[in-house]
């Protein structure tokens, strides 16, 4: 078997350009077979593009890809799959109405024919069991917990006898115990001789699982594959953010940004005003079920001025409904909401905003901004809604105020008439900050405020939230990134199945927060 000597996957000087944007630039890297390789980098470093080139989803502008020593045609999924390269996407791409067995048959590119549910289940039972996924093969994907869905994604990728399995950010959606399960599964794959490439962005996870690590930054390969024994967390952190940026960040912040250590939240622990009255007080809030997510079930929550409360939880456990309930965008079935001393239960969002509610919503490009409208219109919407609809405005004056505000928030833009869609993610988020984080803000809801942002922009958002907190605003931070939550929250509340399933104070214990995120007992009683 000369295959063992040849790299399992080799990229030779791969360059990918999307229009004027260079996503990958002359990336040359080769992976030894039978090992676990980590590819790390911050958002926008080109990790996902790299994975998509290897899987044949993206046609590189230049360069070649070899699998097991043979050059393959690039930009064709079928070619990459036949060669043995499989990709598990960041957001799972399983059709929700399919059963587990149907997914397996579908993934195998069957020859057609007549199927029976029983026959399919029988055919694939062995395959699923081999991978240690505990699931009934006739269950539908939409009814399965996220960890199981991921196991099925991996099983689907392996039905074609893949030799190179690429997992794109597989830990992003998992609880800490789910991550341990995933890593155990990946190690077993290594024993079976599969070459696993993990796209990750937490150093802690890299050091815990990988045999080698490759670092990408700004579309270029910085280093790698380095044997894991030869790199320290310190060095890896600097490689990821770059020496120049590393100098500007305080050490603690840098560690939280790249997930160097298990998060503990030592740096938080802001002095609390335990005596001052709550800015937000939810009492037994329940919502009516609707199509946008799981309903809240008797949620109690108090936030005091000058406090950052983080909401932890596996995505889809009611975080979005919580934000919608506080924002008067979900129908309450019971309970009361008191905001800054006013009972706002049943009051519209406009009334809540008037007494200091501010929202950085989940979906920046849908709920946060109108991408085809101008910057000044986007920026002014909140203030315009405070007065009468017939209030006369002078656009030139509004644009001047907008310019002042955007400059203050160091947004990079040409002029305020340009469309919001022309800004990068980080700049777009700064426009939202400029609109939502003002001196009259009493409660700021920050929902996934750093998702998809690079390190500079992430640090900027954190700083903005801390400054608002120091001015006395209360902040409700929803994030699926525990490092982020632990770093800047004074208190963390865990949500599970639409309920509050635990509350933690700094220093945080990742194991107990993680257990609360997936507590089996709570699920049964729900």
């Amino acid at each position: 078997m000369c295959n063992l000597l040849k790299p399992a996957l080799e990229c030779r000087d791969v360059t990918v350009k999307f229009g004027d944007v260079t996503a990958l630039s002359d990336v040359a890297v080769s992976f030894v077979p039978g090992q676990i390789h980590a590819v790390v980098g911050q958002n926008g470093a080109g990790k996902t593009t790299f994975a998509r080139v290897a899987a044949g989803l993206v046609q590189p502008t230049a360069g070649a890809v070899d699998v097991m020593g043979h050059e393959i045609r690039t930009g064709k999924v079928s070619v990459s799959r036949t060669a043995g390269v499989e990709l598990v996407h960041q957001s799972f791409a399983l059709p929700p109405s399919f059963t587990v067995a149907e997914i397996m048959e579908f993934g195998a590119i069957g020859k057609g024919g007549i199927y029976s549910r029983k026959g399919l289940a029988k055919k694939w039972r062995g395959h699923i069991a081999d991978l240690d996924v505990q699931v009934d093969l006739n269950r539908r994907i939409r009814d399965l917990p996220i960890e199981t869905q991921q196991g099925i994604e991996i099983a689907r990728a392996l039905v074609m006898d893949a030799r190179v399995l690429i997992l794109d950010e597989p830990t992003a959606v998992l609880s800490p115990s789910g991550i341990n399960m995933l890593f155990a599964r990946v190690r077993r794959l290594r024993e079976r001789g599969v070459t696993v490439i993990l796209i990750l962005h937490k150093i802690r996870e890299v050091l815990g699982i990988a045999d080698t690590v490759t670092v990408l930054r700004g579309g270029r390969k910085v280093e790698g594959p380095l044997p894991i024994a030869e790199v320290s967390a310190e060095r890896l952190a600097n490689l990821i953010v770059g020496e120049a940026v590393a100098q500007t960040l305080d050490r603690h912040e840098r560690d939280a940004l790249v997930g160097t250590k298990p998060p503990s939240g030592e740096g938080a622990g802001h002095p609390k005003n335990a005596k001052s009255p709550s800015v937000l007080s939810l009492k037994a809030v329940s919502t009516r079920p609707d199509s946008e997510g799981i309903a809240l079930d008797g949620v109690d929550l108090d936030i005091r001025p000058g406090e950052i409360v983080g909401i932890a939880g596996v995505e889809g456990n009611g975080q979005k409904t919580l934000v919608r309930a506080i924002s008067a965008l979900a129908d309450l079935a019971g309970g009361s909401i008191v905001l800054a001393g006013h009972d706002v239960t049943g009051k519209p969002l406009a009334a809540r905003r008037a007494i200091g509610l501010r929202i950085i919503p989940f979906e920046r490009n849908v709920e946060g901004l109108s991408l085809t409208s101008s910057l000044w219109q986007n920026w002014s919407a909140r203030k315009l809604l405070q007065g009468s609809l017939l209030k006369v405005i002078r656009p030139s004056a509004v644009r001047e105020a907008c310019d002042r505000s955007l400059r203050e928030w160091s947004v990079h833009y040409h002029n305020s008439a340009q469309k919001a869609g022309s800004l990068s993610g980080g700049n777009a988020q700064k426009v939202i900050l400029a609109r939502e984080v003002d001196r009259d803000a009493r409660l700021i809801i920050a929902a996934q405020p750093t998702r998809g942002l690079d390190i500079g922009a992430t640090a900027f958002v954190w700083q903005a939230l801390r400054q608002a907190r120091d001015r006395g605003a209360a902040i409700l931070l929803i994030s699926s990134d525990l490092d982020e939550l632990f770093d800047i929250s004074d208190r963390v509340v865990v949500m599970l199945s639409g309920r509050v399933n635990g509350e933690f104070h700094a220093p945080f214990n990742i194991a107990s927060v993680g257990a609360a995120m997936t507590d089996a007992a709570a699920r049964v009683s729900a």
Binding site: S327, V366, G368, Q377, N378, A381, L384, L385, G387, P395
Partner: protein
């Protein structure tokens, strides 16, 4: 202001394409195309009295088109201007019956208000259906056009029937001369003043009020405005009501001005031409004024075509349809032309 005129100028290039296409069609159909184009220009603007005639058509079209633009801006495709125009005229006609004999300085404003309200009501119910239960306003407003058209037939051959009518076209009894706001030429200081007032007020509403900015945001991304605390139904319903009211006002002007009565099936293309005007103007108020003058010219030329070029007046409908085709294809065409210019994508 400059921007909106540039937009209209750019749209007019597509209008020119449409005219060229029509000229080719007419040429092949055996008519004299250059003569036809000359007849259009002559009938619209050059002949003595042509400008007045063009304005007579342009003013009601402008009023309706501004309203259409308001609802399109807010993201609602109210294509029921024709029906709202009819219902406005019908309400004004009923009010005229009821107030017969009253002093003109009271009756005239009352008729105008009645017609405007009638148009608003005819836009209100599709608006409510859309905002309360999500019923597609394109379908309801379109159905509203047919209902209003049939209502007009009923009213002119029933309750308001003119007994001395010829029987060829059912029509209402003529409006008392004292309450007319123009003679049959259709252009008078009152009508010009109403048009100007609508133009100024709507320009202010769109460009100088919170409503203008928020409605335009809501039209592009309603979700975002909702997260800002706006009540979408308030913005949406106001837009429906304003657009219906203006179409009703235009119907009232036609009734109280040039027509002096309502007749079944009168001005059957008014509302649709207004939609076309709003689209040519890219929904800007100033652009709408410019485009309305152009289409008013075409309407005026329509009466003149049979005499000058031997073409049926329906030729203008063909020209309008061709313009609609090109305007609808506009953005796609611009995209493609730019891509041919060699930008890698």
């Amino acid at each position: 202001m400059k921007d909106s005129l540039v937009t209209v100028a750019r749209s007019l290039i597509f209008v020119a394409f449409a005219l060229i296409l029509c000229a080719l069609v007419f040429q092949f159909a055996g008519y004299n195309a250059p003569l036809m184009l000359w007849a259009v220009a002559d009938g619209a603007f050059l002949r003595s009295g042509a400008i007045e005639q063009s304005l007579r058509w342009a003013l009601p079209l402008f009023i309706t088109a501004v309203g259409v633009g308001i609802s399109f801006r807010a993201g609602f495709f109210n294509i029921g201007a024709q029906g709202q125009f009819y219902v406005g005229a019908i309400c004004a006609a009923f009010a005229a019956e009821a107030l017969k004999g009253g002093p003109a300085f009271l009756v005239i404003p009352a008729l105008i208000i009645a017609g405007t309200l009638g148009g608003a009501v005819w836009a209100l119910w599709p608006g409510l259906l859309r905002l309360r239960s999500g019923t597609d306003e394109v379908i309801t407003t379109l159905m509203g056009n047919f209902m209003a058209g049939l209502l007009l037939v009923y009213v002119t051959s029933g309750p308001l029937k003119d007994p001395s009518g010829s029987g060829q076209q059912a029509s209402s009894r003529p409006l008392d001369e004292a309450y007319r706001i123009s003679d049959s030429l259709g252009i008078s200081p009152t009508i010009i003043a109403i048009g100007a007032a609508v133009g100024i007020l709507m320009w202010l509403l769109v460009n100088r009020t919170a409503f203008g900015v928020l409605a335009s945001l809501a039209g592009r991304n309603g979700t975002m405005v909702e997260w800002q605390g706006a009540r979408l139904w308030k913005l949406g319903l106001s837009s429906f009501i304003i657009s219906g009211a203006l179409a009703g006002l235009a119907g009232t002007i036609e009734f109280m001005g040039p027509n002096g009565r309502i007749a079944s099936g009168f001005l059957p293309a008014h509302g649709f031409t207004a939609i076309l005007i709003a689209l040519v103007a890219n929904l800007s108020v100033i652009g709408t004024a410019a485009a309305a003058v152009f289409f008013g010219g075409l309407a005026s030329a329509a009466l003149y075509l049979p005499i000058m070029a031997g073409l049926p007046a329906a030729a203008i409908d063909i020209i309008n349809a061709a313009i609609a085709l090109f305007i609808t294809a506009r953005s796609k065409l611009v995209d493609q032309v730019l891509r041919l210019g060699g930008r890698p994508s």
